[in-house]
């Protein structure tokens, strides 16, 4: 403990600079990882939602005699005439359905449903999932 010379200013500065450089690099990596993770999570969420919507629609189209699809950007409601409506709603998802068949009644026995479902994430603007499908009841 007799050595009380300490460090010179230059040494201290050098330490700070090296520490600064490396902490910046590590911080950038970490930040990037967190951001990528968020994007991937919302992508995954959109895919699951799209899948479940198309499956529900498939089932309704196969089973019910008539139904309507009501939708706006906040929710999609599939209303079969003879059973309870199926609601899809998620505060983080922007729902889009083309063409605009909202409220129109669909009879699976005669009508064919051609739709494009586009789900967009409200938290990450450029994250979206587009699925195009056809529903027909074979006779």
């Amino acid at each position: 403990m007799n050595n009380q010379k300490g460090v010179t200013l230059v040494e201290l500065l050098a330490t700070l600079v090296i520490f600064g450089i490396f902490s910046t690099i590590i911080w950038t990596f970490l930040f990037q990882a967190v951001k990528t993770n968020e994007v991937e999570i919302s992508k995954n969420q959109l895919q699951q939602e799209a899948n479940i919507i198309l499956n529900a629609l498939d089932e309704v189209h196969r089973k019910s005699s008539e139904y309507t699809i009501d939708y706006n950007s906040d929710e999609i409601i599939i209303k079969p005439t003879n059973s309870s409506p199926i609601v899809f709603s998620n505060s983080q998802i922007d729902y889009n359905l083309f063409p605009l068949v909202s409220g129109k009644s669909i009879s699976p026995n005669t009508d064919r449903l051609n739709i494009t479902l586009v789900l967009k994430s409200k938290t990450n603007e450029n994250v979206n999932t587009t699925l195009k499908s056809t529903f027909v009841r074979f006779k």
Binding site: F29, Q47, A50, N51, T129, L131, K132, F135, F138
Partner: protein, 149 residues
Amino acid sequence: MQKTIKNEQGLTLIEVLASIVLLSIIIVSFLSLFPQISNFNKSTEENLQAAATAKEVRVLVKEEIESMDSFPSKLSFTNERILNDGFYSYIGKYNDFEVVIELQDQPFVGDEPQQNKTRKLYKYKVSIGESDTRILSTTYGFIIRETPN
């Protein structure tokens, strides 16, 4: 113990830098494992789209073939058919996906005589892939042919 504690020379800057460089090389080599989630998501999306496209193509094929009296030599989105062993192959493209349709040339469950017509079912298989080799989704259907007796 006494001896090791008395060695207070520490490390030189070069040694510290060298160790950091080595460490970062090792870390960077492992870093490529983490973005795998993005690849998984990509292939999930492809599978979803392929499944939806398969459903669509199945309908198109059925309607197009049933609107004609005999099996067409080509469909609107495929090349000329190829006769393979027991089935016709139509290969084409739909929505950026590679589509292969295999249609059996013999009826599936023989003749099924009804009152004044005969109904025949021809099985077909729709395969959707990103190339001929990597199949993403498969679905089956039947072409119904009714001929009066």
